[in-house]
Symmetry: D2
Subunit: 134 residues, 4 copies
């Protein structure tokens, strides 16, 4: 069981949503932040580097936003929908843009396919959480 899940299970108050969904979203956000960081780095080692610039930029953006969203979603104390909901929407947007750009390179670079999958899973997880959060 992930630490994220264990920490939700031992949280001393009421959590903001189903713990399974929250833990899955936090995991998807952490994974996507890391995958985008590693993906941007792998892009830097490619022969067709000039064609990878947009992908690098979006991966860096996606890593930043997913890391921030992972932090906000990890916090259960004094939940504020006015903070979490717009951030989840922004995270969906950057995961969509980054996933689309990674997909363009996935046929040539396997690491872009992996990074795309992390983005798609994170986008889906954020959408699901948005669907149930107050």
């Amino acid at each position: 069981m992930s630490y994220a899940r264990q920490l939700l299970d031992t949280y001393p108050g009421t959590v903001t949503a189903d713990v399974g969904l929250l833990a899955a979203t936090i995991g998807a956000l952490s994974d996507c932040a890391q995958a985008c960081t590693a993906g941007a780095d792998a892009d830097l080692r490619e022969q067709n580097l000039a064609e990878m610039v947009k992908c690098i930029r979006l991966c860096l953006d996606c890593a930043d936003v997913c890391a921030a969203t992972a932090g906000v979603v990890s916090r259960q104390t004094d939940y504020d929908a006015n903070v979490t909901r717009p951030l989840l929407k922004a995270c969906v947007a950057v995961c969509k843009s980054c996933g689309d750009e990674c997909q363009r390179h996935a046929r040539h670079h396997e690491h872009c396919r992996v990074c795309e999958q992390a983005c798609r899973r994170c986008e889906q997880a954020c959408r699901e959480l948005l669907g149930v959060l107050g």
Copy 2:
């Protein structure tokens, strides 16, 4: 002249908006991220700690979102409005929530007044940038 401004002035491509406005927004975002980090820490040292919990939580959220937004807005290469605009809206929202909560404590704790000012300035800067960005 700030490093942010100097880096915009020496950027080898076309920047996404007026350099003065961009540099001011980047500065406001970096300042707000730091102020919220220091503000949450100052809250932890207060006598009425139990009443500061919501303020601490929102300061931590605001620091995370402002830092991510500072990163995204600092990047000029291959600008993607679908990424930047929702994130700026999310940043406006968290600066508003955090600024409002800091204001509630500003009469008793001077550091909350300082943190509120950083949030208000950042909220305003993000709104202005949203107004001119494509």
Copy 3:
């Protein structure tokens, strides 16, 4: 298989260490960053909040350092031992301090026990990586 592992397996150059060890370290760093973020938040909801202040502070520090270290260790391109080695040492140090403080509260707060485990595993992973990195 984790995205971290898949991205190492598809990296288009030579990786800096054994991929299994690298992937495990990256996973431990990401987990610890998240656990410390969630742990600090759980501390904020405890009755004996005043006694948790040091734990909150160290958890916030540990989250920051582990996130930065996860980023640096995730990058394989143009490895620089002068950067990675001191950072891994700093990460070992903060995981040690934070794990020790979490342990002090683990009998009373189960989430502190979970957070301690994440810190210990991360400290150990960073030590192992330090032992093999050039």
Copy 4:
């Protein structure tokens, strides 16, 4: 007066070092994190992109470490030398590596000269803080 300085001046406890030095260090760390983020992005827009890869990688590392260090140094509550000192040393190291690499490109790219200056100032500030911190 910077927000960092104002927050130190209104901190409700004892600060860990001279407020002027602390505020200058926090400012240098925040500036360097932003400059390295913007510098890596400017590198991505250069014609000789393949020669800039090491510079991009080090700028990303330096941004991560400076941001984490800014967070840790901003916190005054329950200071732990075992955490702060190794991190400041790691930050000195990455600012040195990154500054040296930026310097190599400073004749050709003015933004690298700006980024180098931010790194040098931050390295110096961290060294000074290390010299006075317990």
